[in-house]
């Protein structure tokens, strides 16, 4: 290849490719295979095992031992189905709230004077650098019966009795909104910041009042940022574990927590795998959408 010096050497692509294939792709295959297996009391706790030494008949036996039993189990159990629904529901509500909070913040940042912006950017990112776990934990302290929120509300006189906010779905939503705020604000800010002032001036020149220029000019152009931010929040939120575990109650059914329980508490690896596969299937469309956006923005540049 005469132009070989223009493109990087194949090894540049090969190293990350092989790594990801080994540590990202292959594991998924294994998860799928495990979802077709049964739980046994052994080490490892699943069967059938693939025995190289057993030869061709071993291979056939292996494939014969696989079945969709777990899928039938999960899909017919109302508890699991409820967990999937709740996860999607909670993630969706959280994402909607994130949009409502995130947009004004991002918009404010985009309209701030030039000198403020690096500082504002740093302020938005800094909580992200500090521990996720710790920040969720911080909310625990605030939301308990004796916590600061109740203390404040009691002091103002808004309520007579402390509210039971902790261990509810509301707390989970609050936790998700709090933790994921930077992920919504940053893509939105990037999209809004890129916009040309002259577009708004043109709209004003043509007679549009400010709210109209916002709706007809600013908002549509910020839409890609909004979509990116929403996906960046929604998809991981569906599978969240830490937040529902620390802030949710016993009736908070989120699928990430279910998977964890199946795996660690029930030692049911194959069911956990089934849950994972189903979760992936649910999320595959938004994930593909997100990747599409990323690749396209890469190409555009």
């Amino acid at each position: 290849m005469a132009d070989g010096h223009k493109r990087p050497h194949p090894i540049v692509a090969a190293m990350p490719y092989l790594w990801l294939a080994a540590f990202f792709l292959v594991p998924f295959v294994i998860v799928f295979r495990l979802s077709l297996s049964d739980d046994v009391l052994a080490q490892p706790p699943y069967a059938p095992l693939f025995e190289w030494s057993a030869g061709w008949s071993g291979v056939r036996e292996f494939f014969a031992g696989l079945d969709f039993e777990n899928y039938a189990f999960v899909l017919t159990d109302s508890l699991y189905i409820e967990a999937y629904w709740q996860s999607i529901w909670i993630a969706a509500v959280s994402t909607a709230i994130l949009m409502l909070i995130g947009f004004p913040v991002a918009y404010g940042m985009a309209r701030a004077p030039q000198g403020w912006r690096p500082i504002l950017l740093m302020l938005i990112i800094l909580p992200f650098w500090t521990s996720f776990l710790i920040r969720v934990y911080a909310w625990m302290g605030i939301l308990t019966r004796e916590g600061l929120l109740n203390q404040a509300l009691l002091a103002i006189g808004l309520i007579d009795e402390p509210l039971d906010i902790l261990a509810t779905n509301a707390a989970v939503i609050l936790g998700i909104v709090y933790s994921y705020l930077p992920f919504m604000v940053l893509p939105l800010y990037a999209a809004l910041e890129r916009q040309d002032d002259t577009l708004l001036e043109a709209a004003a020149d043509l007679g549009a009042p400010p709210w109209k220029s916002f709706w007809l000019v600013t908002f549509p152009l910020a839409l890609p940022g909004l979509v990116a931010g929403s996906l960046l929040c929604f998809i991981p939120a569906v599978g969240e574990f830490v937040i529902p575990d620390l802030l949710g109650g016993s009736d908070t059914l989120m699928i990430g927590r279910t998977l964890w329980t199946e795996f660690f508490t029930n030692r049911s690896w194959s069911v956990a795998s089934t849950i994972a596969v189903l979760l992936l299937l649910i999320l595959v469309v938004p994930i593909a959408l997100y990747q599409n956006i990323q690749s396209r923005s890469l190409e555009r540049n």
Binding site: S131, I134, Y137
Partner: protein, 266 residues
């Protein structure tokens, strides 16, 4: 967007940032609370910090966490930079769709799925779980973040500089190390720091992929936190926050210092 802040903007910014920082501030404040109870302020005290130093399990976990973070961040930076180079420079090649899919997916993938799948891999190849499995797992999911950070720097990169280097006799290998890398270094460094903090902070994936003797700090914190709010955890958290904040501030200071040095020269 330079029109200036309206009242609405100012209010939303203030509320937004207050919301973001209030819990953290409260956490830090209460780590100095002499009383064990969250509700009651018992006076200023640093006793919880002293207690941390006595807690061997906690210190062990912190040490493990730091080592895992350091190794995985370094590996992730190398792999992530290579991935970014491939995505930006390689153009179309067979399997590109799969490759970009694999690079972008972990950014949004729920951690439970990542953790579970990696553990199952380690079990299938009969790799003993411990320090190295956690490190491998962390490398895998943080390299994608590094790739995205480096990628955005590579996109605006002036390629005529590389052509100039090659024109002057530098092989592509030398060109990368003498010209490209020094110029994308800030992005690479930012990627390293990002990978480091992501690893430092990770609970879910570590829980799945770790083994005996390699319990990480988040795992220890989590096991205690499940039982409720405790002031020791407040203290640990504050130390943690302070550590990361210092890291980030040190990094930005280093960059500013380097820039000032360049201006002063000649």
């Amino acid at each position: 967007m330079r029109k200036g802040l309206s009242w609405f903007n100012l209010v939303s910014l203030t509320l937004g940032f207050a919301f973001l920082y209030l819990p953290i501030v409260l956490l830090i404040v209460y780590s100095f609370n002499d009383s064990r109870l969250v509700a009651v302020w018992g006076g200023f005290s640093t006793r919880w910090y002293a207690e941390i130093w006595q807690n061997a399990a906690l210190l062990d976990a912190a040490w493990v966490t730091l080592r895992v973070a350091f190794v995985s961040a370094t590996a992730a930076t190398i792999l992530g930079t290579l991935a970014a180079l491939t995505l930006v420079r390689r153009g179309r090649f067979r399997g590109r769709l799969l490759f970009s899919g694999m690079v972008y997916a972990p950014l949004v993938m729920p951690e439970v799925i990542l953790g579970l799948s990696l553990l199952l891999l380690f079990v299938a190849v009969e790799l003993d779980r411990g320090f190295w499995t956690v490190t491998l797992a962390h490398t895998t999911f943080t390299m994608c973040f590094v790739a995205v950070v480096v990628q955005s720097r590579l996109i605006g990169f002036d390629r005529s500089l590389e052509e100039a280097a090659m024109d002057l006799g530098a092989t592509p290998f030398r060109t990368f190390f003498s010209v490209t890398l020094p110029l994308i270094f800030p992005a690479v460094a930012a990627g390293w720091i990002l990978a480091f903090t992501l690893s430092l902070d990770d609970l879910v994936i570590a829980s799945f992929t770790t083994g005996p003797g390699a319990t990480t700090l988040p795992m220890r914190i989590y096991s205690q936190v499940r039982l409720g709010v405790t002031p020791e955890i407040n203290a640990v958290s504050t130390v943690f926050i302070a550590f990361v904040a210092m890291l980030v501030i040190a990094a930005s200071l280093a960059m500013k210092w380097q820039q000032a040095r360049q201006r002063a020269a000649a």
